[in-house]
Amino acid sequence: MASPHYPEGTVRALLATDLVTDATRAALQARLDAPLYEPQYLDGATYEMLRAVAARLFPQPDRPDNPIELAAAIDERLLNGESDGWRYDILPPDREAYKLGLGGIRESAQAMFGNNFLVLTDEQKDEVLTAVQHAKAPGETWKTLSAVRFFEELLAELTENYYAHPLGQEEIGYVGMADVPGWHHIQLNELEPREPEAEVK
């Protein structure tokens, strides 16, 4: 099925209305207005690796000047030692896993293409990441770090950051945040006036 496209600006416009509670607006607006982020936990080079990987897992050619920043929340979480309540026992603690895993991707890039991951073409980067995801990537790192589980955790966290962002939500036509009046039209094909309709491009 072709991917539906939802009109741009829907969520941004809803946030300015009283269809959204103060607590909800505070959470979403902060992500929209997030200032430029300087890494506080990861060192500069590792943070750049994280951003480069994020840019392939969530390519945003439609936002060339201001892509949704996905790495900042990870660096902040690692800095604060926050957890989502669990981790795979076979992985080391998150701080260590991120450093080791990003180093592993760098190592695999060297082994596969004899070059720094950052300067590879998009296709080459994707090849490296695919190899990591399927535990086929070369490198010493992956002998002790589970490539499959590391990649899964990385992808899940980036995905959560992407769809927690108002623009990510807008892209999928989600307006659940505008719930102050409640929802009355909840059956199949029933929409409230504030729910955007998709155009298939």
Binding site: W86, L129, T159, A164, D179, G182, N189
Partner: protein, 563 residues
């Protein structure tokens, strides 16, 4: 990267290093107080509890296991104190309709998930805050059926419960009316009921309509489900009026208008009204005993201060990980060898599909439709059974699961998620058998408090695998019949069960049928850890029923002592 930044081995969140020297610790604490007088106990607005006061009962945990018995004991005139690790929220003001912002509702202290089918915790399981995991439960409240309690009798596997349906039926009935459960007038499965549900069912959303359509074509009977969310304004004794559900679809990240029967809007205000002292932000570290082994009190940390509360009886209601963790850390009630053992998770495989219809899966009660036709399937090659539920889903949760299971990324990932408004799911909730390879233990790795983290081993065994395959097949057929394309399954285990099971004898169980520990006369356990088998229904209602029953049995015993 400088070497100093590499973590000490085995420590995840070194918020503060542990200081071993008691004198140094004292000096540092005094310095802390001078630097930040608000941390001085004398500056706190609430009076500190009298360290010498002995209360009748301390209850650890304010979720589905702790809150009902807290209210019952307070109403009987006992002096009761509840200790809750998390804060007391004001949902109307504090709760955002935003999954990430609401992550404070989950028990986020890290647990290590081991085995072939590692269990995800956090949003998938335990909660923190006054109300425990009921703050983020889906509010699905089917009753267990009688045969759920007798898997061994019927299939020669697992163990039977020391009690049966008849023991819990009066409590199921009481709870459904106290909480204001919305459900059908005539529920099609299970024993005859003395009364209908007090409120009409909540309206069906898109996913429920689609499941209804698919099941109809396959000859599978469905019904609007029983949910602990109000379909109409409801007056609750001791609490007052609660407003109806607004179809916000956000049950799993916190209800903001009190429509969902979480403990903070039902049993806890009732308990407080009868004098219960509920202390938020109180994390229990130690359980103290006298020479005879009887419990004399607990030590807990509240806002950075270490406090002690003496008690005559202790009710441990911290859930199937923290309860056995406290027992193991305190070397308490361990003689059966069963503490931490028999860990179970409900089989919970989900099947998703994309439809031509507009669904908007964020609207309506997530679990609107149910079928228990698969409770004991005729063609089953496994013991026990399961129920089927339609599911609504919030976007971040869904995207995260799709990323893990479908492994989609790049443009393909973004393209798939653009179908979110046309996606609907069904899942099952099925039995799980206890197995020796599934257990919880203390890891060497410490948490930010310096306490051993729990490690949970879980590997689905043959029975769970067969049940999951059977269910996935049925759900795929339902979705095909309903018109879905791009159907995929997300294997999953939900809820945490077992780890301190009840039984007839102290040789193979931790507590008796009343929740009383065999080893320690004044220790009771009331939560999902006492379940001897998983049951083929969502656990919350049964946890609450056992909680009320434990309170009644305790009060009966106390009265006999008075005579």
């Amino acid at each position: 990267m400088p070497d100093e930044e590499v973590l000490e081995e085995g420590v995840l969140n070194p918020l503060k290093p542990e200081i071993q020297d008691p004198l140094l610790r004292e000096i540092l604490e005094e310095n802390d107080l001078q630097a930040d007088p608000s941390r001085d106990p004398l500056e706190q607005p609430a009076p500190l509890p009298d360290p010498d006061e002995v209360v009748d009962c301390v209850v650890i945990g304010t979720g589905a296991g702790g809150a009902p018995l807290l209210a019952r004991l307070a109403m009987a005139g006992l002096k009761v104190v509840a200790l809750e690790a998390g804060p007391w929220h004001d949902p109307r003001k504090d709760f955002a309709t935003d999954e990430k912002a609401q992550s404070f509702l989950f028990w986020n202290d890290e647990r290590l998930s081991a085995g072939q089918d590692p269990i995800s915790f956090g949003r998938n399981n335990s909660g923190k805050g006054v109300g425990g995991s009921t703050l983020h439960y889906t509010a699905y409240t089917p009753r267990a059926q009688d045969d759920d309690f007798h898997l061994h009798r019927d299939f020669s596997v697992g163990v039977d419960w020391p009690i049966g349906y008849d023991d819990l039926e009066p409590y199921y009935d009481e709870l459904e009316h106290f909480l204001g459960i919305s459900g059908p007038a005539n529920y099609p499965w299970g024993p005859t009921r003395r009364r209908s549900y007090p409120l009409a069912p909540l309206p069906l959303n898109g996913a429920a309509q689609l499941m209804q359509r698919g099941c109809e074509q396959l000859g599978i009977k469905t019904s609007p489900a029983a949910n602990a969310a109000l379909s109409a304004r409801y007056y609750q004794e001791g609490v007052g009026w609660r407003e109806a559900c607004t179809n916000r679809g956000f049950c799993q990240a916190g209800c903001n208008n009190g429509a969902k029967a979480s403990m903070d809007v039902t049993f806890l205000p009732l308990a407080a009204d009868h004098g219960a002292d509920i202390r938020p932000n109180s994390y229990v570290t130690e359980i103290e005993r006298d020479a005879s082994g009887a419990i004399t009190g607990v030590v807990y940390q509240q806002n950075g201060i270490t406090l002690r509360q003496k008690c005559r009886n202790l009710f441990l209601c911290a859930g199937a990980i923290e309860t056995p963790r406290l027992l193991l850390l305190n070397e308490l009630a361990l003689s059966s060898g069963q503490v931490g053992r028999n860990f179970m998770g409900h089989t919970g495989v989900q099947v998703w599909g994309t439809f031509a219809e507009d669904i908007r899966p964020y609207k309506g009660i997530p679990g609107a439709l149910i079928s228990e036709d698969t409770h004991r399937p005729k063609d089953a090659d496994f013991a026990g059974g399961y129920l089927l539920q339609s599911i609504g889903v919030m976007p971040v949760t869904f995207a995260s699961q799709a990323a893990r299971a479908r492994k989609l990324w790049g443009q393909a990932g973004r393209d798939y998620m653009r179908n979110y408004n046309n996606i609907a799911g069904i899942n099952i909730l099925g039995d799980c058998l206890p197995h020796e390879s599934n257990f919880m233990e203390l890891a060497e790795e410490k948490d930010g408090r310096g306490v051993a983290k729990p490690r949970v081993h879980f590997t689905a065994q043959e029975n769970e695998q067969r049940m999951t395959a059977h269910a996935e097949n049925i759900m795929r057929r339902i979705w095909e019949a309903a018109g879905a394309t791009d159907i995929w399954a997300f294997p999953r285990y939900a809820h945490i069960i077992g780890t301190a099971r009840m039984g007839h004898r102290g040789t193979d169980a931790v507590v008796d049928a009343n929740g009383r520990a065999f080893d320690v006369p004044n220790l009771y356990i009331s939560d999902n850890s006492t379940f001897p088998s998983a049951l083929s229904v969502n656990p919350a209602l049964t946890i609450m029923a056992l909680s009320l029953r434990t309170a009644d049995k305790f009060l009966e015993k106390e009265r006999r002592r008075d005579l």
